[in-house]
Amino acid sequence: MIIEVILGILTGIVLGLIPSLHINFVSYLFISFSIFLIFPNHLFFFLSLSISQLITNYIPQTFFSVPNTENIMSLFPLHRLFLKQQAYDGIFLCFLGSFFGSLFSILLFPLLFLFFTFFIGFNFLISFAIIFTILSFIFSQKTLKEKLIIFLIIFSSGILGLFTLKYNYFVKEPLFICVMGLFTFPLLLKSIFEKNSKTIYQKTTLSILPSLKNSSLYSFFGSLASLFVILVPSFSSSLGAVVFSRFKEKISTYNYLIIFSSISISALIFSYFLAMFFNKPRLGYFAILLSEKLVLFKTDLVLYISAIILTVSLTILILLSLIKDIILFFNSQNLNRLNLIVLIVSFIFIIYLSDFKTLLVFFLSVLIGFLPLIFNKSRVYLMGYIMLPTLLFYL
């Protein structure tokens, strides 16, 4: 079993370094090529793979601004630190959040069990939370014009979500395609075609030293937030990010990153836990695993916990020894050229998953993804893509 965990960690690190490669797509490929059959305890292999992929993915996220559905919200502060030559700080804070977040999420298992037992079926609370978040997005704007712009972004991305997630009859892998279109491609295209873009040399030493108290406190907040948001199907860490983005002004970028990385890792760990105890996965790729009847046994909880701790710790330890070389590598490269390669590779993934109709949806999502960039607004509002379909599902 330890061998499966270690192999999962190494595979996760390699896959996590590839920008725009989402874990759903990885599991899709694994099943297509029957790679799961190689590992008798493949659930542990996949558990460690998904955790290490999530942690490693902060690196390409920082350098290429490429998010995935689990960590869309952490992208913005990471990119901000990148522009200030503090990519290493950003990644280090995400490692801290992931480490402490994973430990706190394990401690919160009993509470999650009680929460899920109690709140299962209280759908109006989910609807209320989503309506409240959407309204707060719109009415937090100062002028009527700004309110209308935010409404336009939420509404257009929400309609796209409705037709691809709720009433989807024609699009293959809609979440992957639309997330790429809404979040990844517009920013990559913008950075490629910006004339004044130049290499931003990143420091290889830490500019900030967060205290142990601070790191653990904000990680705990992240795990706690994740405990609430995991109850909302299809949202996972993204909803936590949306809710916390409302308080963004009140907390520093550094603490914001610790919270978000903690939310992301906790949501992933909680998702596996819910699949074990309630057969209710909260993340897409688990549906694939469950359909293959590869659910963990409840008595394996001890093994599950130790696999999580081992995976998180070993992944971060390996990445810490590599990170400076990775930064030096990026410093020596023309980032625009790398962005172009990422764009082409991402487009190849999309072509692999698409047909003509799906491509049309992809181009439409790219157009909608440009709206926040044109109006100089946060791309958080594009989360309407997931929020609106989920709201209608529960109303």
Partner: protein, 121 residues
């Protein structure tokens, strides 16, 4: 909190998790299910059963067989076994060797069955 301090935490966590693995492997023993008088309270738990194999078949890459103690048998299903494991079980079936299996004792269409987790000859 700098990098070296985090590394100390990480190494400590790795040692703890490896120790948990070790203790689990050494001390966890699944309760034994007696096929002659099955204990209903063990339903939905991981149990170990010893016996010989019957009605061995593979369908859609899943292995189905019965494990028996004299005439008392229980259905067993093994999802996506590796080729090596199929060969080992096939061998036990052909030579009527007694094996010990560990798996989840559950009900499928109101009939008791075991979802195989691991086995030992």
């Amino acid at each position: 909190m700098d990098e070296s301090k985090l590394k100390i935490f990480l190494i400590f966590a790795i040692i703890i998790s490896l120790l948990i693995f070790l203790f689990y492997i050494l001390f966890f023993k699944a309760p034994v299910l007696d096929l002659l008088s099955p204990d209903i309270s063990l339903l939905e738990k991981v149990v170990s059963v010893s016996g010989t194999l019957k009605d061995f078949s593979i369908e859609n890459n899943n292995l189905f067989f019965k494990i028996c103690n004299f005439s008392s048998c229980i259905d067993v299903v093994y999802f996506n076994p590796s080729k090596t494991n199929v060969n080992l079980l096939q061998n036990s079936f052909s030579f009527k060797k007694e094996i010990k299996i560990t798996g989840k004792y559950t009900l499928y269409q109101s009939k008791p069955e075991i979802i195989l987790y691991k086995f030992e000859d």
